[in-house]
């Protein structure tokens, strides 16, 4: 058994333009590994190539060059599809079917026989909170309900790997939390999750590792703690003489002083203790010390803008 849930080697996908259009490299030389059992955030702005990469992983489109492996087999290998599942962005289903019928339909695609099929469908409807709406046609479902049916169809085969494309797009905050909790529950069951998103607040909390993609290229990848380290601490003090400025600079801080009021932006590396000592030794009076952690949002904006420069 391969240790990687997903392994992508040098993947390039070019959409050859029709007629006058330029060909687009939607993904360029992408290298990526997702370990089993982790939640992997696949981030990037609109048009970054996230969906394109996912389609390659599913065998819906083929690589222009490079290769992709899913659960140790080449992407698109039919054997894989028993163990993976996919939630497309803005999913749409046969809307004349009821919630229960559509889940039966997907279960039949796996060849799950009765009565096991009915048992699983009922359990899933319950799990995503749609038992009461189960016999309504999907065309009467709200966006949030459709997303929950989408998640239910993802779970019908008890997959090892779930690929979710923008699972929280267009949902309200409560639905976000429901989906986040479900994602965490799935991880605790040892499943691997590959989640694409351009919204950050939800993913931030749950992902073990993230990759940031921009214009088809991987610009950042790593453990969340590592990527988010390097925040800063802001200290404000009063009655501070100018003589402290130079020693603070030597400690790596960025001080500014007006009328004895000092504001210091200090790297989050423990040096703030020394700065506090310095200020107090010079007769200064500390007003506040406040840590500013970097958020994924910051990282995202920095990275993408860095990429555009």
């Amino acid at each position: 058994m391969s240790e990687y849930a997903i392994k992508i080697n040098n993947l390039t996908k070019r959409y050859s333009g029709l007629w006058s259009q330029q060909p687009v490299d939607a993904v360029k030389n992408l290298n990526l590994e997702v370990h089993r059992g982790e939640i992997f955030g696949f981030l990037g702005p609109n048009g970054a190539g996230k969906t394109t990469t996912i389609k390659v992983l599913l065998g819906i489109i083929y690589p222009t060059s490079g290769e992709a492996y899913v659960l140790g087999r080449p992407a698109g290998d039919p054997q894989n599809h028993y163990k993976i599942s996919y939630l497309p962005e803005n999913p749409y289903f046969y809307d004349y079917m009821t919630g229960r019928e559509i889940l039966h339909f997907y279960a039949r695609l796996f060849g799950i026989p009765e009565p096991e099929r009915s048992r699983r469908v009922d359990a899933l409807l319950d799990r995503v909170g749609l038992s009461r709406a189960a016999n309504q046609p999907l065309r009467t479902y709200s966006k949030g309900m459709l997303q929950r049916i989408g998640l239910a169809q993802c779970l019908i085969n008890d997959p090892e790997l779930l690929i979710l494309d923008e699972p929280t797009a267009g949902l309200d905050p409560i639905a976000h939390i429901d989906i986040r909790d479900l994602i965490l529950e799935l991880r605790s069951q040892g499943k691997t999750l590959f989640i694409s998103s351009h919204q950050l607040s939800d993913v931030e909390i749950v992902c073990d590792r993230v990759a940031i993609l921009n214009k088809g290229e991987l610009v950042r990848m790593g453990k969340l703690e590592d990527l988010l380290s390097g925040g800063h601490v802001e200290m404000i003090a009063e009655k501070v003489p100018e003589t402290v400025l130079e020693p603070i600079r030597q400690l790596g801080g960025r001080p500014s002083l007006h009328d004895g009021r000092l504001i210091v932006e200090q790297p989050d590396d423990g040096s703030i203790d020394r700065v506090i000592d310095l200020v107090r030794a010079h007769g200064g009076h500390i007003i506040s010390v406040k840590p500013y952690r970097r958020t994924l949002e910051d990282l995202f904006v920095e990275t993408i803008q860095g990429g555009r420069r």
């Binding site: 389609k55 083929y62 039919p78 993976i84 599942s85 939630l87 999913p91 289903f93 039949r108 695609l109």
Partner: protein, 259 residues
């Protein structure tokens, strides 16, 4: 097989809810029902009128339903992205194509059974006799429409629905006319082989839809088909072989397709 049948079932369920198809079916049923009312105009006799009217309407409705249904069969799934959740399950592309086709053929079977029942009841009541040959004619039309459905499905794997209407419609017309056109040409000594051979090739390649039009001997019993049973079996086999070839070609094209 389970997956293929599930896809066929979903396709059937969707088709019989498609308004345009049901409007055509309903219109055909109404026209067949009221056809005896045209009796006063029946110059060539009541039997000819009712039978040719019924056969004509049924063939027309079956043709339109087959083309309209099948142009959208695959493009619609891609457009609204339902195909992604299906192909990410253990469903191979041939399962999908064959499932879609079986769904279309089940819809055609449903449509033909509905029209056939009404047609047979109307002819039984107004003609006072039940002619089992009517059923034979309907079965031939059913196979004709099923073959046309396979042609349209094949085109739908690589052209847009609009283009497909013209392509499928064109193939249907040509496939109906080519064999008699060729006969005419072959009887004419002035036609050079240079003209004749391409037409001969085209006639062989294009599906021969004319084979299925056996309504005339049914309407006019004085025309007799020689060795009728063998002819029917042969025509049905022709349809099945041609359909299988078209499905294989559709799968080959669809396997290369990116969505």
């Amino acid at each position: 097989m389970n997956a293929t049948l599930a896809i066929a079932g979903a396709t059937f369920g969707e088709a019989i809810r498609k308004r345009i198809l049901m409007v055509i079916l309903l219109a055909a049923l109404v026209i067949i029902l009221i056809s005896p009312a045209f009796e006063p105009f029946a110059g060539r006799g009541q039997r000819t009128l009712i039978l040719s009217f019924g056969f004509g309407i049924i063939q027309l409705a079956g043709t339109f339903i087959a083309i309209i249904m099948c142009t959208g069969l695959i493009p619609t799934e891609i457009e609204r992205r339902t195909i992604y959740t299906i192909l990410s399950k253990p469903v191979q592309r041939w399962n999908f194509v064959v499932g879609k086709y079986l769904g279309a053929v089940s819809t055609l079977a449903f449509v033909y059974v509905m029209m056939g029942m009404v047609f047979m009841i109307v002819s039984r009541i107004s003609l006072g006799e039940f002619d089992p040959k009517i059923a034979q004619g309907l079965i031939m039309f059913f196979f004709q429409s099923s073959l046309l459905a396979a042609v349209t499905l094949f085109f739908s794997t690589f052209v847009s629905p609009l283009v497909n209407y013209f392509l499928s419609g064109g193939v249907f017309l040509m496939g109906n006319l080519m064999s008699s056109f060729l006969e005419t040409i072959q009887r004419n000594p002035e036609v050079t082989p240079l003209t004749r051979i391409p037409i001969q090739i085209l006639t062989v390649i294009l599906p021969n839809f004319a084979n299925f039009n056996i309504q005339n001997p049914i309407i006019n019993p004085e025309q007799v088909l020689t060795d009728e049973f063998a002819y029917l079996v042969q025509t049905v086999l022709y349809a099945i072989v041609y359909i299988v070839l078209l499905l294989v070609a559709s799968v080959l094209v669809f396997n290369q397709r990116e969505m």
